[in-house]
Amino acid sequence: MPTASHKYLLIVLAAMFCSSVLADPNADREAFVAYFEASFPDIPFNEYANGIYAIDADAREQWEEIETFPPYSFTLDTGAGLWNETFPDGKTYADCFAGSDSGVRQNYPRFDTHRDEVETLETAINHCREKHGLAGLKFNGEKMLALTAHMAFVSRGNPISIRVSEDEPRALAAYEAGKQFYYTKRGQLNFSCSDCHVTSVGLRVRADRLSAGLGHPTHFPVYRSKLGGMISLHKRFSGCVRDVRAKPFALQSTEFRNLEYFLTFMSNGLEVNGPGARK
């Protein structure tokens, strides 16, 4: 039995390696943006940060009505309070996040060369806590959601600036793995992320219109009216994977962190506008 899984792992690794040699993230991003510009010539680039509301006018009116007094207001209060907490050693989050006064959300995820993996805002928060003697927070727990909501809010208006250094093969490999995830069909329904959020944007799946993949990571965490609470980007990933009837990966798993790395790089230049409100 182990032979089978090893064999597949090798195939995946080999594919990753072969393609990473040729990887050109900037060319990928330009093509990604150009695809949507060609598909929706009337939608200005910045509008993609608003997800489906860039496309669906009736839904947009309801969303704007909700944003006049957004339901995540209370979460932002909680987040601001948590942000200012002092750690046992007298340090604060601001000591871990340089430049946090004007916002850092736009720089995450980043490739952490010491840990040799993609560091998301959530894992960076936990690395910070661990460094200062505190246990990590639950990835989709209220505290983590409130902190990331606060950090996104402070970063509003900053253009997303993800770096995938072409001189760092490990960063490129992580980016390529995320890209492969995005375009790989999975689950009983045999859908890739791109089947819905690139190829079929604007069409309906049952009662929903499909939003564009460009701009997806700008506004998380998000208040979901359906749940009456906030969710993280990885929780949304998990929901999508489940929707195509595949077994979801863990929040902040390598797979999802790499996916976030790729997807956020695709949105470079769009403004951070989190936290958001969605149906």
Binding site: I52, D58, A59, E61, Q62, W63, E65, I66, E67, T68, F69, P70, S73, L76, S102, G103, F153, R156, G157, N158, C196, R204, V205, R206, A207, D208, L210, S225, K226, G228, G239, C240, D243, E271, N273, R278, K279
Partner: protein
């Protein structure tokens, strides 16, 4: 950056809190019975004394054609009718149709907005009681479920 934070209304107000003595301050009784009735007609009779309403184009109700989410349907009602005493929101197909009502004293503008729950596609009726009559307008709101976001 100020610009991009516009969605949070900062207003010009300071927020102050007091310790509570609230119950005494609630003047009018909560109309419990109208909220328990299971037909729009009964609920209106109970609350306004009549279920006969005059359709009026002086009432403007803004509701979505298709609700993004039945759990959060934004409703805005305003009217140019004079001497308004109350505004009610009635959702015909909800298990208990009377969703909310608002008592409008003189000096308060007859314009309210809130967010309501709808169990299924239904007519939503805005019922305005003035000193001289009961007026209404109705619009259908479609509630859909399913898909990946809902």
């Amino acid at each position: 950056m100020q610009r991009t934070r516009r969605l949070i209304i900062k207003g010009g107000v300071a927020l102050l809190a007091l310790t509570a003595l609230p119950r005494a301050l609630i003047a009018a009784a909560w109309p419990q019975k109208t909220f328990a009735l299971t037909t729009a007609s009964e609920a209106l009779k109970e609350y306004l004394g009549t279920d006969v309403t005059t359709p009026s184009d002086k009432i403007d109700m803004k509701v979505p054609e298709i609700a993004e989410n039945g759990a959060v349907v934004p409703v805005t009602i305003k009217t140019s009718l004079e001497n308004v005493e109350s505004i009610s929101i009635v959702v015909e197909h909800n298990p208990r149709p009377m969703a909310a009502n608002f008592e409008i004293p003189p000096g308060t503008l007859p314009k309210i907005s809130c967010r309501i729950k709808m169990g299924e596609t239904s007519d939503v009726m805005a019922v305005v009681k003035t000193r001289t009559g009961v007026y209404s307008i109705a619009k259908e709101v479609k509630v859909t479920i399913g898909g990946c976001g809902g």
